[in-house]
């Protein structure tokens, strides 16, 4: 029991020379109870050992009174009460109770039997009896069995020696007994017996000792005491999970109480409170209920009395309520909302962290790889040296980190903590993630939804390839900057905040726009440090770090690296900071980094869009500004810049709209500063691809501002404005607004700007869309836009051409403009463009050519340039849009060309081709081809050819359509195709008539007209008349006879006439 008492039992530190006391702890109580149990059962189990006298008595101040020692076996002897029984030497009574003071007694016992007796007498006080016994005799074994069994540190072989002694004595005794029997032997025998008993007792005590130790280990392991590290861990996890969001964050806030100073031992409590075991104090604000003040003591977490109204900055430290083993349990108990939330937390944050870790590892690997590669051209010995040095450096680094932990300087406060929290975080993560283990790595690689990639402007694979190439290049030889930057990064890593700032400022003196420097920072591990600095509390370090990150993030590889290292998450967090400079820098850096899809997604997923939109909210953008207001404007500008980058993803646009970006952008649009307007308009034009934004831009009155800024002197701004108008002018109302605000004039004026192709493309695009409205066309006529546009048909990039040709196509819908195009010499370049390959361009060109072909004079030129053949060959294009618009363009060509029949026949295989297009699945293609066939069929010879190609059954098969446009042109084609051979009968046989009759119920007049014409043609065959009559054609036809449309009247009347004639003939035949 010696070991257990010395090691496991909790003694108070010695005070006033009176020896230690056993603390009143649970552990000690358990130990004492075990000892009591052991003593109480001992006499019965081992009577011999119980009777064994101690070497010296166990004496202690007892609570027993003389009168309690009643009954037989005790006698009074003056001041003392003694037992009648004496020890085996007969010089000491086995129990002595001696009065030592007025009410104080000392008791001493000489064997365990009496110990048992004492406990029996003490009854409910036996615990205190044993306690004071042990306190008085720190090593009772010595008293019991003598000094030789004293508890010692290290190996205790006293027992073995004792056993040896006994066996030796037995042996000698045995020898003696062989020799002779004398009286001394019996004495010796008794002595040996006694020693054996002693040994047995010793072994029993040893067993008890072991039992006690085991017991205490169990209870010690149960009782985990808090340490500053574990407290910091729990707090930082909860900090990560707290925020204002009532649904996602478990707490409103959790903060350390006090000035934030961390002592060397990791505690935050004042030293005099640390004496009481306090580690730190926490201020926790749950979503429900009041702010709680919690003490983290080594014994556990408990509530204290909160702020001391008497002393500012101090707490009332008294404990309130129970203590808890961990913070979460306490909070769960105090805040039901917290319990609810912590159970359903999705821990998206954790997922990110794991991802992040992984990436860091990866980065480390690649870096070491490149480092070794750098030295490939050196000799092996040098390489060896380098390796040795590397190892040394590694060790140093380790040392450095160790040191860091031992003496956390102010600067590394946050960082260091993160370091040692990592493990804990991971543990917790694992536990939580087990529930929903989604392989994030995999997830990020799966392509985004089709709609998300739709609006992307950067292609990721391209950038990635590029980065691999560059890497191998840069390894060739290293510039001197590399080594200088490496040194600076070393200072960043191993310096306090002063050294860090000096290093940061020195680093900024390098040409950070240069790729070698950018990559050098990455390759020497500077990015990690810079990003880590963002997590510290030091605002200056954050600013310095961001200033560098902002510059180097112009490099695509650095962007990726920043995103991989989790820099975006931190920067998004910084957006909420109070310091405006810091916010600006973070937003600007985000603007640079979020140029690729994954980064944009990261920003969105971490709530960055909402915060960025929040930055836009600045009270005043116009008029004279105080420096403070200017700061606000600057913040808004940076926010707009970041949103501009982010707005390239469709989901981000949606998120921005939901966050209320539109009215804020509208407000900022009123600004007069170009550097503010460019990102704002840029964002708007990016977002205008969404109908919801287009509507908002119109209704929020932004068109006026956009038009106003078209007159700006800044080409970039003009470009974005024109581009925004281009996208918004899809809607008629917007087009009208552009005209009303006088936006058409500056647009046309921009056409003169031939050098800036982007601007030109945007301006021509805007003109194209605006010219869809007839009123705008008039204005463009006045502005002589056609001449300018035609001039742009030569030597322009395709982006410009598409828009120019589109605009010409729209403008040519107005007849005077067609002549104007011809006069400006536009026909020939247009026809030339028919040989292009750009699908969008071809669609527009064919449309424009088709419009121009509406005029005889134009057609002559087109014919001369062999334009129709070019159009015809476009029917072979794979893009149905191109096919359709080519077929549409062919219609006016045939109509207006001289000797069109001959021309068409001259295209080898042309007629077969166009008939085969009737198999297309695209409605627009079908309609356009039907229209073309209707025109082709005007020529009898051609009609014969297409009939041979089986046009009749193909047309008949299409008759079941419900699409009015197709119906109209289909009926037209059928009407025309009836004029050959027995095609009428063939249509009837192919069951085309009854569906055609149904067309008469359509609401489209044009459908009626062509259908009536087709029916009129078909009614020339009696069988068809019967079918029509049966299908109920007469009644709607009768109505159409009364139509104002003469064509329709005539056709309907003709049709009815034919039907009637058949009936009359029938009657005649019957009666005659």
């Amino acid at each position: 029991m010696g070991q257990a008492l010395q090691r496991a039992a909790q003694w108070t530190s010695a005070k006033g020379g009176s020896g230690g006391k056993l603390e009143f702890t649970k552990l000690n109580e358990e130990l004492l109870n075990t000892i009591i149990q052991w003593i109480e059962g001992f006499g019965a189990k081992y009577p011999e050992e119980a009777k064994l006298s101690f070497k010296s008595p166990l004496t202690w101040p007892s609570s027993l009174r003389a009168d309690m020692l009643s009954g037989a076996g005790y006698t009074e002897r003056g001041e003392e009460v003694v037992s009648e029984a004496q020890n085996d030497k007969g010089d000491h009574p086995l129990l002595v109770l001696k009065k030592s003071g007025a009410q104080e007694y000392m008791i001493s016992i000489m064997n365990l039997e009496y110990a048992e007796a004492v406990l029996r007498m003490a009854s409910e006080k036996k615990l205190s009896e044993v306690r004071s016994c042990l306190e008085a005799n720190r090593d009772p074994v010595v008293n019991m069995l003598g000094e030789r069994f004293a508890t010692v540190e290290g190996d205790d072989n006293s027992i073995f020696r004792f056993i040896e002694e006994i066996t030796k004595e037995i042996e000698t005794l045995a020898k003696q007994s062989v020799n002779a029997e004398n009286e001394g032997n019996t004495e010796k025998q008794a002595e040996i017996e006694m020693k054996k008993t002693q040994l047995k007792l010793r072994l029993q005590l040893l067993r008890l000792d072991q039992q006690l130790l085991n017991q205490s280990i169990i209870s010690i392991t149960k009782d985990v005491r808090l340490t500053p590290v574990s407290v910091d861990g729990e707090v930082s996890i909860l900090k990560d999970l707290s925020g204002e969001d009532d649904d996602k964050c478990v707490l409103d806030s959790i903060e350390y109480f006090g000035d934030g100073y961390v002592f060397k031992n990791g505690c935050r409590a004042q030293p005099w409170r640390q004496l009481h075991g306090d580690i730190c104090y926490l201020v926790v604000k749950p979503h429900d209920g009041d702010t709680m003040y919690i003490t983290a003591n080594t014994s556990g977490y408990y509530l204290n009395n909160g702020l001391d109204p008497m002393k500012a900055g101090d707490l009332k430290y008294t404990k309130v309520g129970d203590s808890y083993k961990d913070l979460v349990t306490l909070l769960k108990d105090k805040s039901p909302r917290f319990g609810e939330l912590i159970d359903k937390q999705e821990f998206a944050l954790k997922v990110r962290d794991r991802d992040h870790d992984h990436v860091i590892d990866h980065g480390g690997e690649t870096r070491s790889y490149t480092e070794e590669d750098d030295f490939t051209h050196r000799t092996d010995t040098k390489r060896q040296e380098k390796k040795d040095k590397d190892q040394k450096e590694d060790k140093q680094k380790q040392n450095a980190t160790k040191k860091k932990k031992l003496s956390p300087s102010l600067k590394w406060k946050a960082l260091g903590m993160e370091e040692y929290n990592e493990d804990e975080k991971k543990d917790k993560e694992k536990r939580i993630l087990r529930k929903k283990r989604t392989p994030t790595q995999l997830k990020s690689k799966t392509p985004m939804g089709a709609e998300d990639s739709f609006s992307e402007s950067s292609t990721e694979s391209e950038e990635e390839e590029e980065s691999i190439e560059r890497r191998s290049e840069t390894n060739a030889d290293l510039p001197s900057e590399y080594w200088q930057i490496q040194k600076l990064v070393k200072y960043l890593k191993g310096g306090n905040q002063t050294a860090t700032i000096i290093a940061l400022c020195s680093m900024r003196d390098f040409n950070l726009a240069q790729e070698t420097c950018q990559l050098a920072i990455r390759d020497v591990g500077g990015l990690e440090v810079l990003i880590n600095l963002l997590d510290t509390e030091e605002i200056k370090c954050k600013i310095g770090s961001l200033k560098i990150l902002k510059e180097i993030s112009r490099n695509t590889q650095i962007r990726r690296a920043i995103a991989d290292l989790g820099g975006l998450q931190t920067m998004v967090k910084i957006l909420r900071d109070l310091d405006k400079d810091l916010k600006c820098l973070a937003a600007e850096t985000i603007a640079n980094v979020a140029k690729f899809r994954r980064a944009r997604r990261t920003v969105r997923q971490h709530g960055g869009i909402k915060k960025l939109v929040g930055l836009l909210d600045c009270p005043n953008v116009q008029g004279t500004l105080t420096p403070d207001m200017e700061k606000d404007v600057e913040v808004a500008r940076c926010g707009a810049l970041a949103l501009w980058s982010c707005s390239k993803s469709k989901k981000n646009k949606e998120a921005m709209r939901k966050a209320g970006a539109i009215p804020l952008l509208a407000k900022l649009l009123k600004s007069t500063h170009e550097n503010m307007l460019i990102p704002v308009v840029g964002t708007l034009q990016e977002c205008a691809s969404e109908p919801s934004y287009r509507l908002a831009i119109r209704t929020e009155g932004m068109i006026e501002d956009l038009v106003k800024n078209l007159n700006s002197s800044n080409q970039e701004l003009q470009m974005h404005c024109a581009s925004a108008i281009f996208k918004c002018a899809e809607e008629k109302e917007t087009r009208d607004l552009v005209r009303q605000y006088g936006g058409l004039d500056p647009l046309v004026a921009l056409l003169a700007n031939n050098s800036n192709k982007e601007l030109l493309a945007a301006a021509t695009g805007a003109i194209w869309k605006c010219s869809i409205s007839a009123e705008n066309v008039k204005r463009f006529q006045e502005l002589k836009a056609i001449d300018l546009l035609v001039a742009l048909l030569n030597d322009q990039p395709e982006e410009v051409l598409v828009n120019v040709v589109g605009a010409l196509g729209e403008l040519a819908k107005d007849p005077p403009n067609r002549a104007q195009i011809r006069k400006a010499g536009g026909i020939s370049p247009l026809v030339n463009l028919l040989t292009g390959t750009n699908q969008a361009l071809l669609v527009n060109v064919t449309k424009a050519v088709g419009q121009c072909a509406e005029e005889q004079d134009n057609m002559a030129i087109i014919d001369k340039l062999d334009g129709v053949r070019l159009l015809w060959s476009l029917l072979k294009n794979h893009n149905p849009e191109v096919q359709a618009s080519a077929a549409w363009a062919i219609c006016p060509c045939i109509e207006n060309a001289k000797d069109a029949g001959e021309m068409v026949r001259s295209f080898v295989g042309g007629l077969e081709l166009i008939v085969s297009l009737l198999k297309s699945e695209n409605k627009e293609v079908l309609a356009s081809v039907c229209a073309a066939i209707a025109n082709i069929a005007k020529d009898e010879e051609n009609l014969a050819v297409i009939t041979d190609h089986g046009v009749v059954p193909m047309l008949a098969r299409l008759t079941n359509t419900t699409d009015d446009k197709l119906r109209r042109h289909l009926a037209e084609a059928i009407a025309r195709c009836c004029n050959w051979g027995n095609n009428r009968v063939a249509f009837g046989r192919e069951k085309a008539v009854a569906p055609l009759v149904r067309y008469l119920k359509s609401s489209d007049e044009m459908v009626h007209r062509s259908t009536a014409r087709a029916l009129f043609q078909l009614s020339k065959d009696p069988e068809n008349c019967i079918t029509m009559h049966e299908a109920g054609a007469v009644q709607p036809l009768m109505k159409m006879v009364g139509s104002v449309d003469e064509d329709l009247q005539e056709a309907a009347a003709g049709c009815i006439g034919n039907i009637r004639r058949l009936a009359l003939a029938n009657e005649k035949a019957r009666y005659s």
Binding site: D259, Y261, L410, G495, R508, I539, K540
Partner: protein, 212 residues
């Protein structure tokens, strides 16, 4: 008693209107009153009713979380305009005025005074070394543990020493700070952090006291 009060009112009046070569006081009258009350509380019982170095150091530590002894001494020196090793009302209020509300120029001057250890108007190499010597984690295996610091000093000179005389004059320091405000506290923290600053300002602001 009455005279004392009058005296104080006069003092406040004087301070609030003060505008001399050392700059002007950036505090409102009620704030000055609070500051003086605070000062009186601190100097209670000490001779001459003046604040001594040790008390001031404690104050810097408690209020503004400063830890570096050398710098705290230097800050005291910068406060102590008459170099009598004690702070009087005047020095206290004017010092805090720069400390808490100073313009960039005032703060630049203040920081320069702090860093100019021997007060000769220049920050020399040796002074820089002294100021920066604890700024790097010493690596025991390095042959010369001071090498890093020396390099830091060179970096600073390269960055700040515009006239290349191997020491920083006030003009050097000022132009650097104007260019890059991060370098205001280039040789160690000697101004309060924004949070501490705000906390202290709250402490002396009128509203705050009404609330609590």
């Amino acid at each position: 008693m009455a005279t004392k009060r009058q005296e104080q009112t006069k003092l406040i009046e004087k301070l609030s209107k003060r505008k001399d070569k050392d700059g002007q006081c950036h505090f409102q009258k009620p704030e000055i009153e609070k500051l003086i009350m605070m000062f009186n509380k601190y100097v209670e019982g000490s001779p001459h009713n003046k604040l001594d170095r040790l008390k001031f150091r404690d104050l810097l530590h408690d209020m503004f979380g400063m830890t570096d002894d050398i710098l705290m001494d230097r800050v005291f020196r910068a406060y102590d305009r008459d170099n009598d090793n004690f702070l009087n009302h005047d020095e206290w209020v004017m010092g805090l005025s720069i400390f808490l509300r100073g313009t960039l120029e005032e703060k630049t001057k203040f920081c320069f005074n702090v860093y100019d250890l021997n007060g000769d108007g220049y920050i020399s190499r040796e002074e820089m070394f002294q100021l920066l010597k604890n700024s790097l984690i010493k690596q025991p295996t390095e042959e010369d543990p001071d090498e890093g610091i020396k390099e830091m000093v060179e970096l600073v000179l390269k960055k700040m020493d515009h006239d290349h005389d191997s020491r920083l004059s006030y003009a050097d320091f000022e132009s650097t700070v104007k260019e890059e405000s991060l370098l205001l506290e280039a040789f160690g923290p000697c101004l309060p952090s924004p949070e501490k600053r705000q906390a202290f300002l709250n402490l002396i602001s009128e509203d705050y006291h009404h609330k609590y």
